[in-house]
């Protein structure tokens, strides 16, 4: 968790004054969800915790279940089993048949497509939540003006949603959600509707705004860069299951699935480790001598040297390409294959090699010319054992 500015929190202050029964701690409640959601034939099973002030990035490919998760949290859909709690509030509990509908959940949701009301101007959009929650027109507008000021939107107050840009609409949607004084903030693909240029600006601003929010924040995204930059911790979802949790650095270094590995540009293999020889028999064929990335994988004194399932990560830049079989003294993994394709990246060439196991290899364009590499060229690949790191499945190790 990041340190928080002690002055002027964006939320929480209002409730403390109006409800003396509740302590400030109750409002700073963590989100705890453990349950399943069924939508048609799709089934999402999720366990997650987000602490107050923490930004949890929920990362996954399209169709992984991100939207389903979001709808369950916001109360637009119900859990089929399990529960959702926010601080001292039970929002959904299939066991006790508790279900708090969306309009009574203290949750702010910023939709991917913003969904600003087209018939209201910017100020009245932001004033909507205070208004429907019982504030008078003048009071609601005053509250809206405060939020517009904080998010630097005052100049747009009288514009209609179709008269503002995508980046501005995103900020208005955030202001509208925050004006409801939520205890949990959900952002659905917050930057996906923006063009690349606007995205950089908005990302920086959005980060600074959510940094001031005192409750838990969930950012749903399929963009790993967005997730890594915005979130304190990542939760990776695939096919309706949580496959990995960890800090962005952990996830990037030791991805649990091919999806994440591809996102962070890593060769990822699954296999079975023989701890005694430090050799991994890969599922796709081939054997690698590896370095053990996790301490608990190392054979400790007296422990049984049983083989176990591991992941092996190998950076494309750690692999060397040869046109003849290499001879070296240091322990290396050497295997043979055929160049399948070459792709020019910014400062290097990425080669896809058909081999056992297949690999992505990054080389300089000079090397491509020197070795006369083209699709169909037979090559030898080598990688130092110290660069070939084996680690246990991160997804199975759920520590909160």
């Amino acid at each position: 968790m990041r340190p928080r500015p002690s002055d002027a929190p964006l939320s929480g202050g209002h409730h403390e004054g109006t409800d003396p029964e509740r302590s400030a701690d109750d409002h700073a409640g963590a989100l705890v969800m453990s349950g399943t959601v069924e939508r048609g034939s799709f089934n999402l099973e999720a366990d997650l915790i987000a602490a107050p002030g923490e930004v949890l990035g929920v990362l996954g490919p399209n169709g992984a279940g991100k939207t389903t998760l979001l709808r369950a949290l916001s109360g637009l859909d119900a859990l089929s089993s399990g529960s959702i709690r926010l601080g001292d509030l039970t929002l959904d509990d299939a066991h006790t048949d508790t279900f708090v509908p969306a309009q009574r959940r203290p949750i702010g949701l910023v939709f991917q497509d913003y969904r600003l009301f087209p018939h209201l101007n910017v100020r009245d959009n932001v004033a909507y939540a205070p208004r429907v929650q019982g504030a008078g027109r003048r009071q609601a507008r005053a509250a809206a003006d405060t939020w517009l000021q904080r998010l630097d939107l005052t100049a747009l107050a009288t514009r209609r949603p179709h008269e503002i840009s995508g980046g501005q609409a995103q900020k208005v949607a955030l202001a509208r959600a925050l004006a409801a004084e939520p205890r949990l903030l959900l952002l659905d693909e917050p930057l996906s509707a923006l063009d690349a240029k606007t995205r950089l600006d908005v990302r920086a601003q959005l980060r600074s705004h959510i940094d001031q929010f005192t409750g838990p924040v969930l950012i749903i995204t399929h963009d790993p860069l967005e997730a890594m930059i915005m979130a304190d911790r990542l939760l990776v979802i695939e096919n309706g299951r949580v496959v990995q949790q960890g800090t962005p650095a952990q996830v990037a270094r030791q991805p649990a699935t091919q999806y994440v590995a591809r996102l962070v540009g890593l060769n990822l293999y699954t296999g079975t480790l023989d701890p005694a020889t430090r050799r991994v028999h890969l599922d796709d064929g081939g054997v690698f001598t590896v370095t053990l990335g996790d301490d608990d994988l190392a054979p400790s004194q007296g422990a049984a040297l049983t083989s176990r399932r591991v992941l092996v990560g190998l950076r494309p830049s750690a692999i060397t390409v040869h046109t003849a079989i290499p001879t070296h003294a240091s322990p290396r993994n050497v295997w043979q294959g055929t160049v399948a394709s070459l792709e020019l990246l910014a400062d290097r060439v990425r080669i896809q090699v058909d081999a056992t196991p297949p690999a992505l290899v990054d080389v300089s364009s000079a090397a491509v010319a020197d070795l006369a590499l083209r699709p169909g060229t037979g090559v030898w690949l080598s990688a130092k054992a110290t660069e070939t790191e084996a680690y246990a499945y991160p997804g199975t190790d759920r520590k909160f």
């Binding site: 637009l76 969306a102 969904r115 087209p118 018939h119 909507y128 429907v132």
Partner: protein
Amino acid sequence: MTSSDPPPAGQVPAQRTRQGARAVQARGAIPWPLGIPALLAALFLLVPLAGLLVRAPWRGLPHLLADSQVLDALRLSLVCASAATAASLVFGVPLAWVLARSQARGISVLRALVTLPLVLPPVVGGVALLLAFGRQGILGRLLDEWTGVTLPFTTAGVIIAETFVAMPFLVITVEGAFRAADRGYEEAAATLGASRLTVFRTVTIPLIAPSLLAGAVLCWARALGEFGATITFAGNFPGRTQTMPLAVYVALESDPEAAVALSLVLLVVSIAVLAGLRDRWLSTGTTP
């Protein structure tokens, strides 16, 4: 179509002609098997209206229209059509919402039944109303016994007959709008703390406002022109139940010139409705 290079002087006329033909080809000429029936259809619709204008007793018009019976009929028509539209809005919009949103079984059967008056001959509607709300009708008898109120052959009866015939036009228009409305906005309103009724009032209704207006105008125009159900259920009493269409029909036998004059008034009202809707409804349907 025009070339930037000036053509040689001698070729200009030939090129013009060819370009004219090309323009027609490019836009698509109307094939005669479609063009001739289309022309006949347009004439068929427009000639009677032209006849009305040609045969109108323009000179005696002010005198004819100043007749108190004509003014009574006009006033009654406007009041009853407006009341029927108001009743249709109050009851028909919630019905349209239920038809569009309810997941209950049998809702599609209900939809078919409540829109039946759209295709039912209005006279049959009038008979049905008599059987329900007449003094001996299933509801009418109870109403008479309990309150002493009878509906047939009263101004209230006119409003009921017009509502019966015209409300389905509003319901069907607004139901379509409720179906097509983006539910995403309603979800957004719910996450901001709005109850379902508040969502309906503050988001759904403003979003479908153009369709609501169109449905209300359709409903009003249909009520204004109502004849069959009205004369069957409410009768034809000048000043009480004789609306403009009834007055036109009666006048045609006794005073044809007055009938033409009354028809002219209804035509003017219809044209005014069309003109009023042109921008908001008849054009491409942009939201205001």
